[in-house]
Amino acid sequence: MSTHGPIATHRSATGVPSGRLAIWWLLASEIFIFGGLVVCFVLFKLNGTPGFEDASLTSTAAGAINTFVLLTSSLSIVLAHAAIEKGDSAKSFTYIWYTIGGGFVFLGIKAYEYTGKILHGHTLTDNLFWSFYYTMTGLHALHVIGGMVIMALISFDIRKGHNYQRVELIGIYWHFVDLVWIFLFPLLYIANF
């Protein structure tokens, strides 16, 4: 095993480089955060709690466009990873900024949705459905913003030839953010069961 380069890439007690193991560990904890919210949502919905019929008021089109945006940004960040593995930092930099652009589009659509709902009186305290809606999508949006900031920092770092391995790590995180949305979309926008 090589002992050159960042410790996150060559120290490995498990067969997985410690940097990547750490990001998977983080994501395992995130499963509890978002999973706990989804489980509570499903329990209250199955229990017939009033207010959940408001799921029909969310815009399926907006949710679908945001799903398309996140899936496409997932493609661009994995292409950034593939490019950096070949040592092409300029191409990777470009793909990372496509991904950040996708994040901005996602947040813009989300802000448009929030504005419409709030203007119609559907706020966080309207009923339990809207409490879940704003908590789950808001927490998800915070993860999107966090990912965009870290991606921007990494993009400038790789342009200087440093820490190439971080592209893969932020990529895994970004795909998880995409995964969470893949489940929030049917839950909040499609399946009014």
Binding site: V16, W24, G35, L43, Q165, L179, P186, F193
Partner: protein, 109 residues
């Protein structure tokens, strides 16, 4: 850098994800509730698998990562089945409706 492995065809995976997205949006248009649930959540599971296996490279990961993720989901299942009876079952001798009977709240404080 990470280990070397043959990268999947990412464009092809992305294309399949978009087809699945279109199906999940089209499902409710048939207005069959069971089909809506199936197309919404069934397709979400397939999409999640495609993203995790190919984009996150989970299919190339060591077993310890799979173990970590499966353990997390099992514990989430414990949380669900642990909390479900308390939320869902509102009948029986041991059930006390604290919302209707305020005195039970005082007894527990």
């Amino acid at each position: 850098m990470s280990e070397t492995y043959a990268h999947p065809n990412y464009i092809k995976i992305w294309f399949w994800l978009l087809i699945l997205l279109a199906l999940s949006v089209a499902g409710p248009m048939l207005e069959i509730p069971a089909l809506t649930i199936l197309t919404a959540f069934g397709i979400a599971v397939v999409k999640a698998f495609l993203v995790a296996a190919n984009f996150m490279h989970l299919k190339f990961e060591k077993k310890i990562i799979w173990f970590l993720l499966i353990l997390s989901m099992c514990l989430l299942g414990v949380f669900f089945f642990g909390a479900a009876p308390d939320v869902m079952m509102t009948e029986g001798d041991q059930w006390i409706d604290c919302i209707a009977d305020k005195s039970c709240v005082e007894q527990r404080l």
